[in-house]
């Protein structure tokens, strides 16, 4: 009965359509057929798009090489973290494998004073924002609930409750307006998240206040086991215009297309144009998390078809063809990746369980007698063991 008509979410062969589109303000589209923008195809060929090309015209091969490096490093971080999970050093890891272009292409557009609110899979965004790699691991190793100081990097720690962060980003953007700042807020979330009330409320709110917020939906085709067709009967990018939020639909495995779309959106936000919604059509190549078994719900054939659209390989091909990816460039990228992996591993292993009594720390910013009494009681309790065998470890 409830067949979820799966509309074509496949990026192939869609890139050219955008060409006959008109001027700059056509980039963000009102309601209408959602063609998918692609600037680099899976074979590494540059495809022209009269409109989107305008927004990446200043980017040379060197810049592309930089994005390539970020993607390679991100993947390497991901692989290392997955290995650490298999070795029992962290409890869980949500691989971003396959989503490097969507994350790097968007995050690299931002300024330091922009602010990013993400979900739990945006490790490449965190890397681009400058999160220290040991701090990246703390949440997954369980030595802390979250790893870094958001204000140090302009990025909130991950929101695990699906969709909640989209409202935070919108609120933050309303704050930027009130500060007459041209900083923007960005909300990252998944295809599954679009079903949550909060995400839709964020669209209402952002539209009502023309808030300088960019919604970046990584449609990786799955919410754990549920295919996107269960969450959305239309391409996700078609949702936002009905709220008054213009949207774009881009090949999320194409770092250049993502960059172009993000620049359009960020420029609009900075210049008072209000919110924009970007659907980056990508694929979660790995399991939902290291605890997941995707063979229960999807075919190897499907995975293979997406493997052919790998976001890194296509850039590699392009750079190779352009003669930019010589031995020394490869070696340098490999060195940066190796170094990042080493920092992930060493940083992770160095993370220690905090002091037992720190369980009571920072619940409140101001004194709280009931909690302080609980802390005192627990300290006494732990000390009651010290005489016996030194357990408790209270400093």
């Amino acid at each position: 009965m409830e067949t979820h008509t799966q509309f074509p979410q496949d990026p192939d062969g869609a890139g050219g359509d955008a060409r006959d589109r008109s001027p700059e303000d056509q980039a963000v589209r009102g309601p209408g057929p959602s063609d998918l923008v692609q600037l680099i195809d899976p074979d590494g060929h540059r495809r022209e798009d009269a409109l989107y090309d305008l927004f990446v015209a200043d980017l040379g091969l060197d810049d592309l090489l930089g994005l390539y490096e970020d993607m390679v490093v991100s993947r390497r971080i991901d692989t290392e973290a997955t290995a650490l999970q298999r070795q029992g050093e962290i409890g869980l890891w949500p691989p971003l494998l396959g989503q490097e272009a969507a994350q790097v292409g968007s995050a690299r557009v931002l300024r330091r004073d922009d602010f990013v609110f993400t979900s739990y899979r945006e490790q490449a965004v965190a890397y681009c924002r400058g999160v220290e790699l040991d701090q990246l691991m703390a949440m997954w190793r369980g030595t802390a609930l979250s790893g870094w100081d958001p204000f140090a990097v302009g990025m909130a720690t991950p929101a695990v409750i699906i969709g909640a962060q989209t409202l935070h980003a919108t609120g933050y953007a309303m704050g930027c307006q009130r500060d007459s700042s041209d900083a923007v807020a960005v909300a990252y979330f998944g295809d599954g998240a679009t079903s949550q009330g909060d995400v839709n409320e964020a669209l209402v709110l952002a539209a009502s206040f023309r808030a300088p917020v960019v919604f970046v939906c990584q449609n990786n085709q799955y919410a754990i086991s549920e295919p996107v067709g269960l969450q959305a009967q239309r391409p996700i990018a078609e949702r936002a215009p009905g709220f008054g939020v213009p949207s774009m639909r881009v090949d999320g495995n194409d770092v250049l297309a993502v960059t172009a779309a993000m620049r359009i959106a960020v420029d609009r936000a900075r210049s008072g144009g209000g919110p924009t919604f970007i659907e980056a059509v990508t694929y979660r190549m790995g399991p939902h998390t290291t605890s997941d078994d995707p063979t229960r719900y999807r075919d190897e054939a499907e995975v293979a078809s997406w493997r052919a659209k790998d976001p890194i390989v296509r850039v590699e091909r392009l750079l190779d063809a352009a003669g930019v990816l010589d031995e020394s460039a490869r070696a340098r990228v490999a060195r940066v990746a190796d170094d990042a992996a080493a920092r992930v591993r060493a940083g992770c292993l160095a993370l220690q369980a905090p002091d037992p009594l720190s369980v009571f720390d920072e619940v409140y910013a101001t004194p709280h007698p009931v909690l302080e009494r609980q802390r005192d009681e627990y300290r006494s309790y732990l000390e009651s063991f010290d005489g016996a065998d030194g357990m408790g470890g209270v400093r």
Partner: protein, 351 residues
């Protein structure tokens, strides 16, 4: 010193907060031109502008979630939830985000967000307009929960709540919005003064704890009890999380007896926590078990029945009797109602 209604005392408190700190913003439904359905924000948008007194789309989760984002940006948002029963669509943002962000980030991110909630019954309203949801929030680590009972406290406490660096649920006893009282617009020097319980009447025989709308009822009951020779100490809890346990302990150490009254459902209410804690701390001095006088474990009923649901003067006196070891509500006892009724204030007496 001016005479103000409780709602106006909050209004002037908000006015001060907006004037004193330009990071303070108000968010809510109909708080702008309308001034809120209870007019608590009356005139504030006209004075401080629509950028600071912000009519929000009809979505409580969005109101709280936006406040969280604004706090990230260094603002001090004050959210209005139109009525108690409408807070639940925002529950997730309150308990999973607002309450936890400071702990989650080990203090890096502060959430100085105040959520104003007109609450409680007794106004003859339709469903969802008379609830007392405070215990949900008092059970949520990371939140502060306070409530005021008179204009002076309303004024002072809202300003202190807004100044507090923690998220504060500020419950406003809506049936007391029109109560008048003298208001001094000076702030106490202790920034946490709003979390200290207040002894509103001294007495020897039993400690009667109430908060919000029932403080006045408790005071009326104390007058009636005095006529019967029972000298009640009445404590206005003010802060429901944390509870000022030391203040109640000190009183119970004197009286040996405790009655706690609230409108919310009994099971798992503030009364349960207070009774359990005071029993832990005062077991040796307690003459009787602490007594709870509360709403029943039913949904808030139709308004024609609300006088039965709500603890009133008589039910509080019945609770006092039980705390004194005289169990008047058991089938055997009779005949004390008349004397009592004479002592009531009309408003509070059972019809």
């Amino acid at each position: 010193m001016t005479t103000l209604t409780l709602s106006k005392a909050i209004n002037t408190g908000l006015h001060h907060a907006l004037a004193d700190d330009d990071r303070v913003l108000l968010l809510g439904e109909d708080i702008g031109r309308l001034g809120g359905v209870f007019r608590v924000t009356d005139g504030l948008q006209a004075e401080f502008g629509a950028d600071r007194v912000i009519d929000m789309p009809l979505a409580e989760s969005a109101i709280i979630g936006a406040a969280v984002g604004l706090a990230f940006r260094g603002f001090r948002p004050v959210c209005e939830i139109q009525f108690d029963g409408f807070i639940y669509p925002g529950f997730d943002q309150i308990v999973a985000q607002l309450a936890k962000l400071h702990y989650r980030t080990r203090g890096a991110v502060r959430m100085p967000v105040t959520i104003r909630v007109p609450y409680g019954g007794g106004i003859g309203a339709v469903e969802h307009h008379s609830e007392s949801p405070e215990a949900y929030f008092a059970h949520t680590a990371g939140l502060r929960v306070v409530t005021c009972s008179d204009p002076q406290d309303a004024h002072t406490m809202i300003r202190q709540a807004i100044a507090c660096d923690d998220p504060v649920l500020f419950f406003e006893p809506k049936r007391r919005y029109w109560t008048k009282g003298e208001v001094l617009e000076d702030l106490p020097t202790d920034p946490l003064a709003f979390t200290h319980a207040r002894t509103v009447r001294s007495g020897r025989d039993a400690t009667l704890v109430a908060y919000g709308p029932l403080v006045q009822t408790a005071l009326d009951a104390a007058v009636a009890a005095a006529d019967e020779g029972v000298d009640l100490e009445v404590i206005d809890l003010r802060s429901l999380a944390p509870i000022d346990v030391d203040a109640v302990v000190a009183s119970v150490e004197k009286t040996g007896r405790l009655v706690v009254a609230h409108e919310a459902q009994r099971s798992g209410g503030i009364g349960a926590e207070l009774a359990a804690t005071i029993t832990e701390r005062c077991f040796d001095v307690l003459e009787e078990a602490p007594v709870r006088v509360t709403g029943f474990d039913t949904p808030y009923p139709a308004s024609a029945l609300e006088d039965h649901f709500l603890p009133d003067l008589d039910r509080i006196l019945d609770g006092v009797d039980r705390a004194m070891g005289r169990r008047s509500s058991m089938p055997s006892s009779t005949g004390r109602a008349e004397a009592r009724t004479a002592a009531t204030t009309g408003e509070e007496g059972r019809r």
